[in-house]
């Protein structure tokens, strides 16, 4: 029998992700030497906005795909053919808050909590009548490691690596057991500028955003 493969694959189980996060945290705690940033501030809090959450957008529109889907495609069901169609998908991008702890002059640990809203118009594929907007949200919890190449005065240049989790809510293309997933975010280049109040802009790719993230922060 021709069967569509099970599409609920998780690359890593949540237990594995949490283990990796704990190992990374233990590793950094054991190796870094505590030091304050040059201006004596150890913590900062940030608000941020970022570009397109492509992963969430794909899940919102298509649901998860995996290798083998194309080879085992079944003909569409009538429920699919005469189900809902959708218009363009819009998103706010991920926005939220972050907390940083400067563990060393060259290194800090941070935790980002973000949310991205997505919506599109749904319509009846037979009558063409609008059925209103469908809205969903993705909630991100992202611990990050930030490595500073330059940390001098008001100017800082850094890279960051984040590994956390995301909860998709209202994504009708995801089964309930597919809505909690690992989240990876890499930002090869980021810039911070300012004193106690600073702005930042970083370029990155991952599950939370692809493109730019920027924001404003307060150091204390």
């Amino acid at each position: 029998m021709v069967q569509l493969p099970h599409s609920g694959m998780h690359l890593l189980s949540m237990k594995t992700v949490l283990k990796i996060i704990m190992v990374l945290a233990a590793f950094t705690a054991g190796t870094v030497v505590y030091a304050q940033s040059p201006d004596g501030h150890r913590f900062d809090v940030r608000i941020s906005a970022s570009g397109s959450p492509l992963t969430a957008s794909n899940f919102f529109v298509d649901g998860p795909r995996r290798w083998g889907d194309i080879a085992f495609l079944e003909s569409p069901s009538l429920a699919k053919i005469y189900g809902e169609g959708h218009g363009v998908t819009r998103t706010t991008g991920a926005f939220g808050v972050g907390f940083d702890w400067s563990a060393a002059r060259w290194f800090s640990l941070s935790l980002d909590v973000d949310v991205a809203l997505l919506w599109n118009e749904r319509f009846d594929s037979v009558t063409g009548k609008s059925k209103g907007n469908h809205t969903a949200a993705a909630f991100y919890l992202l611990p990050r490691l930030k490595f500073f190449y330059i940390n001098r005065g008001h100017f800082r240049l850094y890279s960051s690596l984040g590994l956390g989790a995301v909860k998709y809510s209202g994504f009708d293309k995801l089964r309930p057991d597919q809505t909690f997933r690992p989240c990876l975010q890499i930002s090869p280049l980021g810039v911070e500028y300012g004193g106690r109040v600073f702005g930042f802009l970083e370029a990155g790719a991952g599950n939370m955003f692809s493109g730019l993230q920027g924001g404003i922060g307060y150091r204390f």
Partner: protein, 193 residues
């Protein structure tokens, strides 16, 4: 500070305008063609190939009282073959979603390449209480062998020529009326509504 605020405003503005501009209307002629061809394949084509499979396996399909279930082509549906008379059978199949029947006749051909004719094919597909489709053959559906010449060999493929009418329903009301027309195995869908 002004520069920072400017950059922040630009970033927020850009991200708020982010758009995934893919649109989807799943009711396309391609989707309907795929659906109709699949319905024909798992019912009529499956029945003809399965009867040929039984014959190739040495079953005496012309024996008096012959009655056997078999599928050699698509195991989503298993037809039950009943001999009606010499070289004439009826295939019936029922699954959780499909009820199907067809009458198949055989005409002997050279080197075991018999031709097969289907009449009165009817399939009712019910996906759930909401969606359904009814397929009927119009006239005869002829399955015959199409040859392809290669450098050192000739290959034969059993292909169908004929016409089916398929009507789809949603909530009891007809939605699309389609004609699936096969010529030497190539299927073309005409949407009649």
């Amino acid at each position: 500070m002004k520069k920072i605020l400017f950059i922040l405003a630009a970033v927020i503005g850009l991200s708020a305008c982010t758009v995934d501009d893919s649109k989807e209307n799943p009711r396309t002629s391609d989707a309907l063609r795929w659906f109709c061809a699949d319905l024909v394949n798992k019912t009529v084509v499956n029945s003809v190939h399965s009867l040929i499979g039984l014959q190739k396996d040495g079953k005496d399909i012309n024996a008096e009282g012959f009655n056997m279930a078999a599928t050699y082509y698509d195991d989503r549906l298993t037809p039950v073959f009943t001999r009606l008379e010499q070289d004439r059978w009826r295939a019936d199949a029922k699954s959780s979603t499909i009820e199907f029947s067809v009458v198949i006749t055989r005409k002997e051909g050279p080197e075991g390449r018999d031709s097969w004719t289907c009449r009165d094919a009817q399939a009712i597909l019910r996906e759930d209480s909401e969606y359904a489709a009814i397929m009927n053959s119009e006239g005869e559906i002829l399955f015959d062998w199409k040859s392809s010449q290669y450098i050192s060999s000739i290959s034969y493929e059993l292909v169908q020529t004929g016409r089916y009418r398929i009507t789809t329903y949603r909530g009891g009301a007809g939605v699309d009326e389609c004609a699936m027309i096969y010529t030497d195995g190539k299927g073309v869908l005409n949407i009649l509504n």
